[in-house]
């Protein structure tokens, strides 16, 4: 990887943090003419501890739910001043700041057509506040607010299909990605930035602390998510369904989803529940079918 390090080492993220990998890949692909606007969450906290900063590009953090709105304001200001050309504006949020509390601002930004790339790093829970569930948390996962118990399987709802909801806004570009397939992710970043208008990338980023996985396995797990069909990597341009393309096919035959689940502590309680594992495999099969993955 030939990377200019715009996200500097020395931040305070945990070892093996998938989200920091995503940030480094993102900035390397975007280059230095980039303005970053980030939501509150792990990535902001670990990277901006005053008087230090990990950011070598202009960076602004305002609050948890408004990265998309702040980015809208920056886009408007640069347009008003005739300084918009040649710059990327990238809004970044975790799954909580994007799927949940920041969803309205994201929708507003997409609808108004701001020339902003929004990147959601998805670690499937609120990690910064101690691993609480978000609407991205998958069925069956154990978090501190969806604990398994006598009357609970863990999280009892399925993950919100955010990228599809974004696609319904007809943005210039929308894609899902994984830090496990970094070239695919970086290509998508470049493609998104080459287009005028709003774009969105959801990048899957394992969290060793929240998922209870070994630090050195993050990339492997991020790949497993794709290879089991649990995460489908696709892209779509200009809101046109005919352009929908799966960019990374899982191997044939697909690996069973249990291979992805069993390496993670957050699914441990499911391992002696074959009927639940079957259910999850069925979700995955149905999704793969919908996307023509197989």
């Amino acid at each position: 990887m030939n990377e200019e390090s715009l996200f500097a080492p020395g931040h305070t993220a945990c070892a093996g943090c998938g989200a920091t990998i995503a940030l480094r890949l993102l900035l390397a692909a975007a280059g230095k003419n980039t303005i970053v606007c980030q939501a509150t969450g792990c990535m902001e906290v670990v990277s901006t501890g005053y008087p230090n900063t990990a950011w070598k590009v202009p960076y602004i953090h305002v609050a948890f739910e408004n990265a998309a709105a702040v980015a809208s304001g920056i886009d408007a200001a640069l347009k008003a001043k005739g300084e918009r050309e040649g710059k990327n504006i990238i809004a970044i949020g975790g799954d909580g700041g994007t799927y949940d509390i920041g969803f309205q601002a994201l929708s507003g930004m997409l609808e108004r057509g701001h020339d902003v790339l929004y990147v959601c790093y998805d670690n499937e829970a609120y990690m910064n506040t101690g691993i609480q569930r978000s609407s991205s948390t998958p069925y069956g996962a154990s978090t501190t607010t969806s604990p398994p118990g006598k009357f609970s399987i863990g999280e009892d709802t399925v993950k919100k299909p955010l990228a599809e909801i974004v696609a319904a806004h007809r943005p210039s570009y929308v894609a899902t990605a994984s830090v496990g397939y970094y070239a695919d992710f970086q290509n998508k970043v470049k493609k998104a930035l080459s287009k005028k208008g709003p774009s969105f990338i959801l990048v899957y980023a394992p969290c060793p602390t929240g998922w209870r996985t070994p630090s050195e396995k993050s990339i492997e797990i991020a790949k497993l998510a794709v290879d089991t069909g649990y995460l489908i990597l696709w892209e779509m341009e200009n809101g046109d369904r005919n352009t929908l393309k799966v960019t990374k096919m899982p191997p044939k035959p697909r690996k069973p989803v249990v291979e992805f689940l069993k390496v993670q502590g957050r699914f441990r309680h499911l391992m002696n529940k074959p009927e639940e594992l079957k259910k999850i495999q069925e979700f995955v099969d149905a999704e793969c079918k919908r996307y023509g993955v197989d």
Binding site: K32, N33, T34, I35, C37, E44, V45, T48, G49, Y50, P51, T53, W55, K56, V57, P58, Y59, I60, H61, V62, A63, E65, N66, A68, A69, V70, A71, S72, G73, I74, A76, A77, L78, K79, A80, K81, K87, Q104, A105, S107, G108, E111, R112
Partner: protein, 395 residues
């Protein structure tokens, strides 16, 4: 040029004269005319600005923050629930030292839902680090908005400001307003030059995470900035008077020289209170009035100066800090906390939710306050115009 304008229109004209570059906004009664008028200016090419049609007030203020941090001159308008929805980001705008200017049509907060005049919305945000100005007339809405940009953008200040105007009484009422010439405004208000801004050629981090080791220093610096603004406000008011001929003061005295009883008012009720003063004066009573134009920074210096000689100070206010009394009252009391000779200070809650304030109400307050002082009452917070008999007490 003179025009007959509603208060909202006057603030929109102020934004136009200030050549505001970005206006993110979301409509709410009674401030809706502001974004409407701005979008009309933009549609006609009268104002070259980016009008960001936001999906909420929270996002509107967030976009203001982004745009201001990127170096643009920024304004917006809101009221009541809209201001309350901005609450979180108001503190951030001030903490990040961004000179955003906002017109607020002062309106009651829910519940019960009510769209009429009340200062509760802005009073509830008085601790946010925003400067607060209150207009008495439509001319003041325009002038204060213009001056607010100059004050806020001053490098000794760098803070946001809200200009309050009473719902309907000002926002929707037509008054003759002198609109300054663009050339004159350009001389008074040069383009905004930020000290720091988002710039790819000079990357900086805005909105960092701070530990107990440095948070207090940021807060203290912001407090110093708002203290500095006193001098800047006085300078800008003076320059404005010299250039445009209209005099502004943080606190405006009316017949206080020899007054034994002095009223304290904010906003449009001042006109009514002045009528009451004239009436009482005609009966030989030594009454005066103080209008607070700049509520934050709190004008303790001027209040002490003007109220010192009074026997009784009577505060009339359109807000209620539930569980206590009016929010302004204890602040006026504090002005005299450590002084030897001090006036009796009494508080009246009045005109909530747009209830009319008439001359007789003020006179009633005067009489109740004089009686209370004569009886030597120590604590005194009363409501004027409320029908206590209509209230069912749950026993």
């Amino acid at each position: 040029m003179k025009m007959v304008l509603r208060g909202n229109m006057a603030t929109a004209y102020a934004a136009k004269l200030a050549k505001v570059e970005v206006i993110p906004a979301y409509p709410i009664t009674p401030s809706t005319l502001f974004p409407e008028k701005i979008s009309e200016f933009v549609a006609n090419g009268e104002l070259k600005c980016q009008f960001v049609k936001c999906e909420s007030e929270h996002s509107a203020m967030s976009a203001c923050i982004g745009a201001s941090a990127a170096g643009a001159r920024v304004a917006t308008a809101t009221s009541s629930q809209g201001l309350a929805l901005m609450h979180e980001v108001l503190f951030i705008a001030a903490g990040m030292r961004l000179p955003i200017v906002m017109a607020v049509g002062n309106r009651a907060l829910s519940a019960p839902i009510n769209i009429w005049c009340d200062h509760q919305d802005t009073i509830a945000e008085r601790d946010s680090g925003w400067l607060q100005f209150y207009a008495e007339k439509n001319q003041e809405t325009l002038d204060l908005m213009l001056m607010a940009f100059k004050i806020c953008e001053d490098h000794r200040v760098l803070l946001p400001a809200m200009v309050g105007m009473d719902a309907f009484v000002l926002t929707h009422t037509m008054e003759c307003v002198e609109i300054p010439e663009q050339e004159e405004v350009d001389k008074f208000l040069p383009p905004y030059k930020p000290v720091y801004k988002i710039d790819v050629n000079n990357p900086m981090t805005f909105g960092a995470f701070s530990s107990p080791d440095n948070y207090m220093e940021f807060r203290y610096a912001t407090q110093l900035a708002i203290e500095n603004s006193v001098k800047v406000i006085d300078e800008v008011f003076a320059e404005f008077e010299q250039k445009f001929g209209r005099k502004y003061q943080r606190v405006v005295p009316f017949m206080v020289e020899d007054a034994e009883v002095v009223f304290v008012t904010i906003g449009s009720m001042t006109g009514t209170a002045k009528e009451a003063v004239r009436k009482l004066r005609s009966e030989g009573k030594k009454v005066g009035l103080i209008k607070i134009t700049a509520y934050r920074p709190f004008p303790a210096d001027l209040l002490r100066k003007y109220l010192r000689k009074a026997r009784i100070v009577v505060v009339f206010e359109r807000n209620i800090s539930l569980g206590y009394g009016g929010a302004v009252y204890p602040e006026i009391v504090s002005v005299f906390a450590n002084t030897g000779k001090r006036p009796k200070i009494y508080d009246f809650i009045i005109g909530l939710g747009g209830r009319d304030i008439v001359v007789e109400d003020i006179i009633k307050g005067y009489e109740m306050a004089v009686k209370a002082a004569d009886e030597g009452r120590e604590e005194f917070i009363e409501w004027i115009g409320v029908r206590k008999e209509d209230i069912e007490v749950i026993k």
